[in-house]
């Protein structure tokens, strides 16, 4: 590293805040340096082939860096609404406040849901053990930027042998004020939880890059559902890096729904770190106008006899574009892993563009692995079938498009189906909520 060259161009990292743990400060500082050292990603790998990295640069990075992280005065203690369909609801708000409402019964089980910055001080050992170990500063330039600048986020801890029936909802509303957010979730052994990580912002949000890093650690035999919904405003740029690691006999079901943003790039991955681990991913992306989606998935099988499956559906209309790249990596000397991947694209009109690239890095022979991709317009025969029953053209298109993703939605956990259907029908109606 050429320090003098960097010092000439780049502002040195701010001084430590009085409430900031030193290890965290150092991590951020190191990340800031990594960010500045790292060149823009070269557009030669599939992960970067389809989207210009310049989209994710932040003009006022230095200004944000110089602002000490905002410390909210206690994000907990908000009254939990009776009969909520969620066991807890967290808000990352435009004003940089973090709020959490948690069912007292759930809190009583030892579950922690709080502002990540606060957790870094109050639950220091726990946070420090996991934080930034999967989406680390050296993951990539924009992940380092996130680590240096993050100013909002959640920490979730579920103790061993704890079943949380109702989902935990995390509502992220990045406005113009904050744009670097994180989630760290540590799920204990044999525990069960559903996380709904929902990104949306008011139409007022002019622009800005919403850069998010998500780390989920599932202990042995943990059962995790993770739902990532990207419904940002039409001007926003989304950049999300998410990693989950599941242990022996652990099970994760990850669902990605995306309808928002001008440019939306996601790198989602599960590391199957233990024997008999199981990971499923479902994706439903729906783009219109000039929207650009670039979704990458990773299934990394590190141990034996694990199972992964991806069912990724994309609907595009107007001039929307989607690139889906899916990497399956199976480590050498492993046996009897199974990995499946399917990506289907429905193109509602000419002028849309879809790419689908499977990537297989299979370093062993004893494996079952399949992948497939399709893309094309609505089948005119299907359209005729519906019209011949008196259904109008527009309505028929909507029914077929909704039907295209319906089998994927039907595979999703019961409590999420209506939500996913709603997202699709809103978008089909040309609305976005």
């Amino acid at each position: 590293m050429n320090l003098t060259a960097i010092e000439n161009k780049v502002a040195s990292f701010r001084t430590i805040d009085k409430l900031e743990p030193e290890w965290l400060y150092n991590l951020r500082k190191e990340s800031w340096e990594f960010y500045n050292d790292a060149p823009l990603p070269e557009r030669v790998t599939n992960v970067w082939r389809y989207t210009k990295p310049e989209n994710f640069l932040v003009a006022n990075a230095e200004e944000i860096m110089n602002t000490a992280p905002l410390i909210p005065d206690g994000s907990n203690g908000h009254p939990y609404p009776k009969n909520s369909e969620y066991s807890a609801v967290g808000y990352n708000r435009e004003d940089m406040m973090t709020m959490v409402k948690i069912d007292p019964a759930v809190a009583g089980q030892g579950v922690i849901i709080k502002n990540l910055f606060q957790a870094a001080r109050e639950n220091e050992d726990l946070v420090r053990q996991y934080f930034g170990t999967m989406v680390a500063p050296n993951f990539g330039k924009f992940e380092a930027l996130n680590m240096a600048l993050w100013n909002n986020g959640f920490f979730i801890f579920v103790p061993d042998n704890t079943v949380i029936e109702k989902p935990i909802a995390l509502n992220r509303h990045p406005g113009d004020n904050f744009s670097h957010i994180r989630l760290l979730a540590v799920i204990g052994r044999n525990s069960q939880v559903t996380l709904v990580d929902n990104y949306s912002c008011s139409g007022r949000a002019e622009s800005g890059v919403d850069n998010s890093a998500v780390e989920i650690f599932g202990g042995d035999s943990a059962r995790v559902k993770y739902v990532n919904l990207q419904r940002l405003g039409p001007q926003c740029i989304g950049y999300i890096t998410q990693r989950a690691r599941i242990g022996r006999s652990g099970n994760i079901y990850s669902i990605y729904g995306a309808t928002g943003g001008a440019v939306s790039k996601m790198n989602a991955g599960t590391i199957l770190a233990g024997r008999h681990a199981e990971s499923r991913m479902s994706g439903v992306i729906f783009g219109d106008k000039n929207q650009h989606f670039d979704y990458h998935t990773l299934h990394h099988h590190q141990d034996n006899e694990s199972y992964s499956n991806i069912d990724f559906k994309v609907i595009l209309k107007d001039k929307a574009m989607s690139a889906y790249t899916g990497l399956i990596r199976i480590e050498k000397d492993t046996i009897n892993n199974e990995a499946y991947q399917e990506n289907r694209n429905l193109l509602l009109n000419k002028g849309t563009k879809a790419e689908s690239i499977p990537e297989l890095e299979i370093l062993t022979d004893q494996v079952r692995c399949t992948h497939g991709a399709t893309m094309g317009p609505i089948d005119p025969q299907m359209l005729f079938y519906l019209k011949a029953r008196g259904i109008g053209h527009e309505e028929a298109v909507k029914m077929i498009a909704a039907g295209f993703v319906e089998p994927t939605i039907m595979q999703m956990p019961n409590e999420l189906r209506e939500m996913m259907r709603g997202i699709v029908t809103d978008k089909l109606a040309g609305e976005q909520k």
Binding site: P380, L386, K387, R389, G390, I391
Partner: protein, 255 residues
């Protein structure tokens, strides 16, 4: 234009640049049942698909009216709304769209979006399922997705029963049915086919006509109706095959 419930005159159909129906005319009066028989590839499906408004089957010449309304000017949706129904020879699967939701949408569309028409929907559907001996779990299955040949045909008749068209064109609804299913489906047609409208059956075999008795039988060959008669014509075809008629009609010049 005629005062018949359904009529068409001098219909020509072009598919993939090839004329496959070459000037076919027919009039179906109120309550009448007609059957069209004809060898493979003679244009029967092309005719009924074109009449229903299939975009691949262009009507290049001719007229068609359903209770006085000009069909040619309408798109497929409007034709269906005007009361025309086509039971497909090869019903297509529509993944993700359940039978019940599909029928609800179709019934609603037919009534200009009026939801109130659906108030007895569930009961009616259950009754008709049981009449056609279809398991009621089919309501929540995706249309024709993984259905057996016979199940598809039953669901076509179920759709006719639910949509109550004025004119039904049934394209080889009897093919692919086992003996029991043939009886059930035929009973379904007799029960639910438009009684004050018109019915046009396309079939290869006499066996269905034993159940659904046509008033008129027409023979189609090489894109034309070459013979018309009563039910006895179907029996005659069963005995003699198409060859004799073919010789008479198409080789008469040489004779």
């Amino acid at each position: 234009m005629s005062d018949k419930v359904f009529s068409f005159k001098n219909i020509h159909v072009v598919v993939e640049g090839k004329e496959v129906v070459k000037g076919v005319s027919l009039e179906i009066g109120q309550g009448e049942k007609h059957a069209i028989m004809g060898p493979n590839g003679s244009g029967k499906s092309s005719l009924v698909n074109a009449l229903a408004g299939h975009p691949s089957y262009a009507i290049t010449e001719g007229e068609a009216y359903i209770s006085g309304k000009n069909l040619i000017e309408m798109d497929a949706t409007e034709r269906a709304k005007a009361g025309l129904f086509l039971a497909f020879q090869y019903p297509l699967a529509i993944p993700g769209v359940t039978v019940a939701n599909f029928l609800r949408a179709a019934i609603k569309a037919k009534h200009g979006g009026d939801e109130t028409v659906l108030k007895d929907f569930r009961k009616e559907l259950t009754d008709k399922f049981s009449f056609l001996e279809v398991d009621k779990t089919f309501a929540t299955r995706y249309i024709n997705d993984g259905f057996s040949g016979g199940e598809k045909k039953k669901i076509e008749i179920l759709q006719m029963a639910m949509l109550k068209p004025l004119v039904a064109l049934l394209d080889e609804t009897d093919s692919g049915l086992d003996i029991d299913a043939l009886r059930i489906v035929s009973n379904g047609i007799n029960e639910y086919a438009p009684s004050d409208g018109g019915l046009l059956l396309v079939t290869h075999y006499q066996r269905m006509l034993n159940y659904v008795k046509p008033d008129y039988v027409h023979v189609m060959m090489h894109g034309q109706l070459v013979r018309s008669g009563g039910p006895e014509l179907a029996l005659q075809l069963e005995e003699q095959g198409y060859e004799k008629i073919e010789d008479e009609v198409f080789n008469s010049v040489e004779v």
